[in-house]
Symmetry: C2
Subunit: 137 residues, 2 copies
């Protein structure tokens, strides 16, 4: 998979990127199509397509880097907050099939909209889905 994967090539240096952080297991770089200045991506160095594919220990390494990068981006951009977004599979908007966390700095009054919309669920619906998900856990 690494042979074809653009993020694997960024990790290996074959494709240049604006690297902001790297440790043994993870790599962070600026998104070249940012939603806000400082928008960064945090990835595992090993190729895993989604959160369903990555071993738990590696996922923990990735979230530690997300935390570090989030704090740094807040300071670097004088942001008022930040979003962490991670999309699994095409249906969820994932474009590059190498697990990545978006870290997106936000300022009060910025024009970014991040909402799926939502509405209050019926009690029966909640009970049904409580049962369904619990059966899988």
């Amino acid at each position: 998979m690494g042979d074809e994967c653009i993020f694997c090539k960024i990790v290996s240096g074959e494709i240049p990127a604006k690297k902001i952080f790297e440790n043994e297991a993870t790599f962070a770089f600026l998104d070249i199509n940012p939603s806000a200045k400082g928008h960064s991506l945090v990835i595992p160095k090993n190729h895993h397509a989604t959160m369903l594919d990555i071993p738990e220990a590696e996922l923990k390494d990735v979230i530690s880097t997300v935390q570090k990068v989030g704090a740094a981006i807040m300071k670097a951009t004088n942001a008022d907050g930040f979003n962490v977004l991670q999309n699994n599979r095409e249906a969820a908007g994932q474009v590059i099939p190498h697990l990545h966390f978006h870290v997106i700095p936000r300022t009060i009054g910025d024009s970014l909209k991040l909402s799926f919309g939502s509405q209050k669920a019926e009690e029966e619906e909640l009970k049904e889905y409580e049962k369904r998900v619990k059966e899988q856990l």
Copy 2:
């Protein structure tokens, strides 16, 4: 803080919720205002406002539960993918100031839109922000 926090009250059982999973450090329950059926929230049991406030070890516990819950929700809802979204501070759309990860199942062709919009960054801008963020790491 726990005295006032609705999520702390959910953890303690003072406020009822559709609990789908619980372990020593984390708790997961259905969002009562779901963006999709099965939309769940994963939180640390201890009160921490944002990702900037939670100790790294506890954050790792939380992401492990997000991974478990994500896999379960995929099966329980026959989803084609899922989004993981975590908002830090009001500027980022955080409503309840107790760290939480949204886990939102997605199906191909659903009507959910989750996009900030983005545009290609200029090289100079990327260089500037690469420098700024690196200085904070």
